[in-house]
């Protein structure tokens, strides 16, 4: 048992050490810059969209392959699993309020 606890303890220590080594000030700067670039790229994509696509040009867009979510049942299951198993809100833009994720 003691050996097991020592192993567990050293695993956690290693994880904490890795985290401290990873999350340094330069890394924090890099992440915040990456986030800014990402948001800027989204804004550029947004401005690209000013050209209007007429209804008769939307054959590909209306295809099932172009829908963001193809399957309501699978989305429900994934949202439930991902929101419970991660600290995040899960999924990509569900309007449902975050549940407790208990169980």
């Amino acid at each position: 048992m003691q050996q097991y606890m020592l192993r567990l303890s050293s695993t956690r220590q290693t994880a904490m050490a890795k985290w401290s080594a990873f999350w340094t000030a330069p890394m924090r700067r890099f992440c915040s810059r990456a986030l800014m670039v990402y948001l800027l790229a989204n804004c550029l994509l947004f401005t690209q969209g000013c050209a209007t696509t007429e209804f008769y040009q939307r054959e590909k867009l209306n295809d099932r392959a172009m829908q963001f979510d193809q399957d309501g049942g699978l989305n429900y299951l994934r949202q439930k699993i991902e929101a419970a198993r991660e600290g995040s809100l899960g999924g990509f833009g569900s309007a449902e309020a975050g549940g407790c994720g208990c169980q």
């Binding site: 590909k60 867009l61 399957d71 049942g73 299951l77 600290g87 833009g93 309007a95």
Partner: protein
């Protein structure tokens, strides 16, 4: 109660829920007009294995259920969207409780842990919602109020939702706003049916592990006594989401949103414990998880899809999450869509990678209690690989009615050795 009897009772509940789901969803079809309608019935199973994470809390789980949903156009203005799902959830299992824990059978917190050591607990979660889409004639606005209710033996959630969207520039740009409210009641015992109103019923008072309340927490005076096992904790959630969908060209579609969630109330899990260690890092005591009563959560989502050929598509979803407990999470999910036979046999495959930076309330090997402390494996640092595939088959067309079949598989693996896999089979009618 014998395990066999409990299983029979759970199976009986599941069949009842399933039949109610069928009647509610398909019964409402009679109100529908013959256009733009859809009804779905799904059966799913998901199994989760725990080979790591928090050794004290076993996160094994078997989740089997059914979900019925429909989208029914009542008239030119109103569309209704009822859903109901019921499931059997076998959760928990035998955790590794070190023999050096001196209060393993004396404190309320550890009582809960040792109750879980007795094997799996079964729950019967039932979730139902009703949404309305109201689109006034001649207007580009869609208003969508809705209501939500979910019941599980130890957890009840009620809620209201509202969203609004408007089609601008010939539908090329659709901004939207959503608000959702949830009022949750949780307990470490069993709520019973009266839990719907946030009141503990008789079943809860006699719930498992109630004897633990006699305990005086004699293991260590510094370890706070756990709240009574029949206490109901309450939490409130407000969820705001702003976003837009933009058609960039005849081949490109973009969706972006920002989601802010405020939770307050009791945010610790009622049955969660963590381990305290001595100077030699030997586990000696159990203590209760303690987390702040407020949590501010922010998530950015971006989804892009591109179609090089009709019937084919590629896409990528991204999310970035941050909250005031120190958790950050970034995820990316590329997808590919194609067909075996155009419009008859289609497929989608996806892969998702996420990395989570854990909460600052995880204390490693604490030798004393902190104001806030947790060992919840889901709030720590880990990465997740997941993926799956979805197959869609148009089985038959009877006049205006399409009969479709959907089959999908889904699996994930976490770097802390928690993994899960499952599948779903669904039938779908469009008319």
């Amino acid at each position: 109660m014998p395990v066999k009897t409990m299983r029979h009772r759970a199976a009986h509940r599941f069949v009842t829920i399933f039949l109610v789901a069928l009647v509610v969803s398909y019964g409402s079809c009679i109100f529908a007009q013959q256009t733009d309608n859809n009804a779905q019935l799904d059966i799913f199973v998901f199994n989760q294995e725990d080979h790591g994470g928090n050794k004290i809390q076993n996160e094994e789980m078997l989740y089997v259920g059914a979900r019925a949903s429909a989208k029914l156009k009542v008239n030119k203005v109103l569309t209704i969207r009822p859903t109901i799902s019921g499931a059997l959830l076998y959760a928990g299992g035998k955790p590794d409780v070190p023999s050096t824990i001196t209060n393993a059978t004396t404190t309320s917190a550890s009582q809960r842990s040792s109750n879980r050591a007795g094997g799996k607990s079964d729950y019967t979660p039932v979730t139902t919602s009703m949404g309305f889409d109201i689109k006034p004639i001649g207007s580009d606005w869609t208003l969508s109020p809705g209501a939500f209710f979910s019941w599980q033996d130890n957890y009840v959630s009620r809620g209201l939702d509202f969203s609004a969207s408007v089609e601008l520039f010939n539908g090329n740009f659709i901004p939207s706003f959503s608000y959702g409210f949830r009022w949750d009641s949780l307990t470490a015992g069993k709520l019973g049916l009266s839990g719907i109103f946030g009141v503990m019923g008789e079943e809860g008072e006699d719930g498992e592990g109630g004897e633990g309340e006699e305990d005086e927490g004699e293991g260590d005076p510094t370890v706070e006594r756990a709240p009574p096992i029949n206490q109901i904790d309450t939490r409130w959630t407000h969820n705001f989401q702003f976003g837009f969908t933009q058609i960039l060209s005849p081949e490109w579609r973009l969706n972006a949103s920002v989601q802010y969630t405020l939770q307050h109330g009791s945010l610790s899990a009622p049955n969660a414990v963590l381990t305290l260690y001595d100077q030699n890092k030997v586990p000696v005591l159990f203590a209760n998880e303690k987390l702040p009563n407020v949590r501010n959560r922010l998530q950015f989502n971006t989804r892009v899809r591109f179609s090089p050929l009709t019937g084919w598509g590629i896409g990528a979803d991204h999310s970035f999450y941050i909250d005031d407990w120190g958790i950050m999470n970034a995820a990316i999910e590329p997808q590919v869509d194609g067909y075996f036979v155009p419009e008859v046999a289609l497929w989608r495959a996806w892969y998702r990678y996420s990395y989570q930076w854990g909460t600052r309330f995880h204390r490693g090997h604490p030798t004393h209690e902190y104001r806030y402390q947790t060992d919840d494996a889901d709030l720590l640092t880990f990465s997740t690989h997941s993926g799956g595939a979805l197959f869609f088959f148009r089985l038959a067309r009877w006049g205006e009615l399409d009969w479709n079949l959907r089959v999908s598989g889904y699996a994930f693996s976490r770097s802390d050795h928690i993994l899960g896999y499952g599948g779903l089979v669904g039938i779908e009618f469009d008319w």
